[in-house]
Symmetry: D2
Subunit: 250 residues, 4 copies
């Protein structure tokens, strides 16, 4: 039962409608990756997020309209994005549609190599470049903003035994809230949990998730993503009116 | 029924335990104010926030330990603060207790003349001074961050027919998120909705609420406060450990 | 005489090389505008900024490469941008070139209707839309960050007798530093002085400057622009290396 | 020769008047520290900063008024602070005086263990606690905001062979600009270069500088401090008027 009082206020936590987009290439072409994610990263995420009660669907590059038609986007509260090899195959029209939906309030979670996706670069205004090294060593993610809801339930830090390294400088605008910083044994640091807003939309970039490591089975990684779904999918204000306008009462 | 899955995650929107603190002097000493808030500003807020389903209690200056014992604070998720005449009567011990609880994660909403309260100045590190004029003219509050959950349900702007003016420069650190800017017919502007974090705690300063005007009966004002309760009362991370520490595994 | 010590440090204030870009259409097609800026807005700015000792050049839309060849950009420390009617005539190549130079450290000052320029939208990742009204009434700009060097010498606020109104919501990312808020008699407010960074570059958006009003002869407006030249043209760090990288010493 | 044009604008880079405050205890009581800083950390800083042309003076705890009389503060553009053992010996009056001067525009650079100084905690509103370990291993400081003037001349990162470790969570408000992040071989990260503003004043916290290591002889450390002197000592706006005020012209 959903109780609603005046002004549209609801007592219940919203059931987030989540669309998990994956380019889904590595898993079908690289046996090593297929061994880790036999049904694709998107399916692993659906399975891992199941306990959190979201209404989930998946979308992949090879689908019509690259899986992200206007209809799908309009039925999406939060879009999760994983891409790596095929950023350039996303059409201008798709990037335009997704950007418009973010500005209207759709939440966006960009994972790992999605840092170079066209939609993230479009929303950031920068190259989103970084340093990297595929050495499969440890990553330790430190919480630097424990007031942030995205940090609930993950402790002061958590570790991934095997990950790709990403290092600074990460060419993004300064995060509006910086939530996590990664430590790598090879000597680098990285801003790994970054909040942004664009228009009515909230965006979270979350670093881990190289395709050849079982990162998306890790309970802390899944918890961060679930927390982020609630955060970027949370309420927003009214769509503004732009253009010529009359004077108001003094 | 409260369903909880591993890692402490709950499906339900948390029932926020709210303590509304009011110095409660104007309403007992000034007939004009008593006419507007016969039971005190705190009681008007309890009544106005009733539909939102919070677990509310009130506290006033004249109570033992100024209404805010350690026990009360520990049972409080969100503290709402209204004060004006008696900021200096709050003891060092009370300020210390409240600050410690904010750093541990208690949400804090500071209303109107609470800008000069000892607890707000303590948390800001500045004088929190401003310009003011009690002319009872219009205030128009514009949303400048419609991505923020605190702006849900209030439109692009809302108005109060009669309010005190507060003008810039407002001597606070730059808000981490600036949500509302007020326009006043006498020529001033003011940063009226300001988010801060301190430790694990989230803080929201909300400007309106002069004691001689019926501001806390306004539905938009109440909606902002209710939204802010959920926002500053939302989840946070783990309490950090400080001090000497051993090296971790590479 | 320029004294330099080790590490590239110089004692002198840098002589900023400023390129003032203007689309230069209104002034040649609208007699009312021509009456205010007979030689164009760019020439008025050159004249007004003369006392500040910058090394200035101008560039306009009708020049080859739209006045902004790679050579010009490389010799520019700070680019000032005024455009309104012809945003869409700026080519993709020009936008790419300018963005790349900003990311490499060139300062950018975007004036008034330049909010809708392709380069500003590219760098912001949003529509940069807003409300407007050409009523030629007063604008009062309040300083809300007096710690900012851009506010030197302009007092607590300053006024323009006749300006176009711009109103919120202004669809830009939250400014990294919000310096000025405008008050308009018709009831609106606007974030009028906004600092951003992108890569090594610093950006300042400054609202005033409608083509039919003598705004760019106002000494406070000129002072803000001169301060902003020094600010966005100030030192930056080293160009980062991106891509695959070897582990460093532990 | 100093040329000045209307509106108080000067062509020259300001000669910063710097006061270096040191509690000066370790160096007189611990032979190991005395071996590194025989004349005290303050004297090493004076010597190291000599090439930058500042007008420097030193102040130490044992002087009358703890070295920071009203007169000294009024003649100071930038105050540099090193303290560790004797934070509690700073009187309320001294903390009040320093805070007031920061709010009026004096720059403040807080070094290393100064994180726990009364003045820094007063200005931050938090405990400023952190993790630490005196293991004397490497520190590598990464630039995460290369647009920031404080990063000029230090490369993408720089290293200190022997330093104390400081680890997150660092209980400070989120920096308004985060400039440097430290990597430590024992597995921690730290926000090592943090900009804040309070009133008209600019503040920079800079992590390195344990008393038993020769950190303040390192040319990159000195360059950061010199850059920071110019940054926090740079221009600011007009002192605001607070209190009751008349309506302005519409």
């Amino acid at each position: 039962m959903r109780m609603v009082i005046g002004n549209g206020y609801s007592f219940e936590r919203k059931t987030q409608r989540v669309t998990i987009w994956n380019e889904y290439i590595h898993e079908r072409t690289n046996p090593q990756v297929a061994a880790v994610y036999p049904q694709g990263i998107h399916s692993a995420l659906v399975q891992g997020l199941q306990p959190y009660g979201f209404l989930m669907r998946t979308a992949v590059l090879d689908q019509p309209e690259q899986g992200l038609s206007q209809e799908v986007l309009e039925e999406t509260d939060v879009l999760i994005w994983w891409g790596h090899l095929a950023h350039d195959r996303i059409t201008d029209e798709a990037v335009d549609r997704i950007q418009a939906r973010v500005l209207q309030g759709m939440g966006l979670i960009v994972l790992h190599s999605g840092h170079r996706s066209r939609i993230f670069r479009r929303l950031m205004g920068t190259t989103c470049d970084l340093k990297w090294r595929e050495d499969g060593r440890r990553e330790r993610l430190w919480v630097v903003d424990p007031s942030h809801p995205i940090t609930e339930g993950i402790g002061e830090y958590f570790e991934l035994e095997h990950e790709e390294m990403y290092g600074e400088f990460f060419d993004v605008p300064p995060p509006e809230k910086l939530v996590l910083i990664s430590w790598f044994p090879g000597g680098e640091v990285f801003r790994s949990g970054c909040e942004y807003t664009r228009g009515l939309g909230k965006i979270f970039y979350f670093r881990p998730g190289h395709e050849s490591f079982p990162t998306y089975y890790n309970k802390n990684v899944l918890r961060v993503i679930a927390n982020a779904v609630h955060y970027v999918g949370s309420a927003h204000g009214t769509a503004p009116v732009y253009g010529e306008t009359k004077a108001l009462e003094p």
